[in-house]
């Protein structure tokens, strides 16, 4: 039986690998997800035949509760709520790793539940794996829950600063490592294991709390990676290759996304994690940059409709503001009326637009915008200069030209969408307020820029109607 189980785990791992491979192309992605879920089903079913699995009532209860909650969450979540959904699911994965490590520790401890005074020989490698599972799993669990809270608006999305932030986190981490070393040498100290668990949970809270809302794409990607690594360390605890493989795949995927997100902001991972950047915003105008002065020209729906009546190419640049206003369907309607007039409409997506990698793409897909109309920054940035009108919807920092030339700007060096090169840039925003980085956007004052004030959804609906009425 042992051999059948191991071979099934191997086959299941192969399903995961093909699943992720197929997730890499829009045509095969659904199949990929199906492959991965089949792999998971195989792993779950075959584990029930393991010689250690002898009672089933608790398993059945757990599976029923977990599946029910999972189905409800998956069916109910709106597409705009996807970042927090992914954050929460991530957390459950990490939490499971911590719990399994704790369970395994108690199982192999001969002095639990009754202290028989027996020697507890915990192999060093297994001991290290248990401690790492507790640490990474715990940080993933609470960190993801805080990220969920921030995205859901339950916890402030601002950068939270607390006294001695960095020294405190460092001390906690060192304490966990020291405690871990002690456990590896003296495995019997159950209370210390519990303390390490709680400190890890606390560390997750403290690490994610300072990260601001717009840095969430990085935080979510990194937590995704952690949940994978936590799966791997659990694999080391149990000596199970499939957990190690699956965890490593997820860990690698999360790291790659994290790096892509950091590159999209021209910031180092450390800078994001330490909650740097937006400190400029909390300091008010003391950013070192002089606020751009000049007149802002605004335009109303009717004038904008007339402007759009005579153009041949339009690029739409969506940002988090579109998600907040749930304007994706209104944007799709606008695209449709413009295309009916023969206008070439495309979308330019900045890598860090929104609150998670690919956030805008999912929203626009929900609104049935074909994915081949969506272009990544590097694929469309050269086309702005021969585009008639760019419509920026709820994006700010990612279109701020200061990133290109103003060395004193906190976002200097960040790759931006070159919307200012277009003949006309229309910026839909509720106000002239600053974006996440807390700096003014000089684009609004450019001669070819027009502000179209209003809530994204209302503004786009109104615009679409005006175009129809022409």
């Amino acid at each position: 039986m042992r051999i059948v189980i191991e071979i099934t785990y191997l086959v299941s791992s192969i399903f995961f690998i093909f699943g992720i491979k197929y997730l890499g192309s829009p045509k095969t992605a659904r199949k990929g997800n199906l492959f991965a879920s089949i792999g998971m089903l195989m792993a779950i079913v075959i584990t029930l035949f393991d010689q250690h699995v002898l009672t089933f009532e608790w398993i059945i209860i757990g599976v029923i509760i977990g599946s029910t909650v999972g189905v409800i969450l998956a069916v109910k979540v709106p597409m705009t709520g996807m970042p927090q959904m992914v954050g929460m699911l991530n957390g459950f994965g990490g939490g499971a790793s911590t719990l399994v490590a704790l369970a395994e520790y108690h199982r192999i401890n001969p002095n639990y539940p009754v202290d028989l005074g027996l020697p507890f020989n915990l192999p060093i490698d297994q001991g290290i794996a248990i401690i790492l599972s507790l640490l990474i799993g715990g940080v993933t669990f609470t960190g993801s829950m805080i990220a969920f809270g921030k995205l859901q608006g339950l916890v402030t999305g601002r950068v939270v600063k607390y006294p001695l932030q960095h020294p405190l986190n460092l001390i906690l981490l060192l304490a966990i490592i020291a405690g871990g070393i002690y456990i590896v040498i003296n495995p019997g100290s159950i209370s210390l294991v519990v303390i390490i668990t709680f400190v890890s949970l606390l560390l997750g809270v403290l690490l994610v709390l300072p990260i601001g809302g717009a840095d969430m794409p990085v935080a979510i990607s990194l937590l995704n990676s952690y949940s994978g690594i936590a799966g791997s360390t659990t694999g080391f605890v149990l000596g199970n290759n499939e957990l190690i493989i699956a965890g490593a795949l997820v860990g690698a995927s999360g790291i790659i996304l994290t790096l892509i997100m950091c590159r999209g902001m021209n910031r180092s991972l450390m800078n994001v994690l330490l909650g740097g950047w937006a400190s400029a915003g909390t300091a008010g105008t003391a950013t070192g940059t002089t606020s751009p002065k000049g007149d802002v020209k605004s335009i109303d729906a009717e004038e904008l409709a007339m402007l759009l009546d005579s153009v041949s190419s339009v690029i739409v640049v969506p940002g988090y503001g579109m998600a907040v206003a749930q304007a994706q369907h209104a944007v799709r309607d606008l695209m449709n009326v413009l295309e009916k007039k023969g206008v070439n409409v495309r979308f330019a997506i900045h890598p860090v637009a929104g609150r998670m990698p690919g956030h805008m793409n999912v929203l626009l897909a929900e609104a049935q915008v074909p994915y081949d109309k969506l272009f990544a920054m590097e694929d469309i940035n050269d086309d702005f200069s021969n585009t008639d009108v760019v419509i920026v919807i709820g994006a700010n920092d990612v279109v701020n030209p200061a990133a290109r030339h103003d060395q004193s700007s906190p976002i200097y060096g960040m790759p931006i969408l070159n919307v200012d090169y277009a003949k006309t840039v229309v910026i839909n925003k509720r106000s002239l307020n600053v974006g996440y980085a807390g700096i003014d956007n000089e684009l609004f004052f450019y001669p070819n820029a027009l502000m179209y004030f209003g809530d994204a959804k209302d503004a786009m609906t109104k615009l679409t109607n005006e175009i129809k009425n022409l």
């Binding site: 792999g39 998971m40 994965g93 995704n224 493989i245 795949l249 074909p370």
Partner: protein, 97 residues
Amino acid sequence: MFMENLTFLMHIYVFVLAIFVGFELITKVPPTLHTPLMSGSNAISGITIVGALLSAGLEQFTISTILGMVAVIFAMINVVGGFLVTDRMLKMFKKKK
């Protein structure tokens, strides 16, 4: 002192190779699919369910059983929620007709 040394080394071996496979597979994913990739891979990280089942199904009822059962709940939420929501998203990705 260590588990059987070679076993542990073999696990490290597998881990390192799997990371390379992961990097190879994922660098090719287009930005449009980043969210489904993340939620799909997230669901895969629910593989911890295997460890949870082993703990929850132990012959004797101890604290490990309770911890295991809660772990089964957590991991199942991760797995079921993750795969379903990924499928929901991917259903929407359509090319121009």
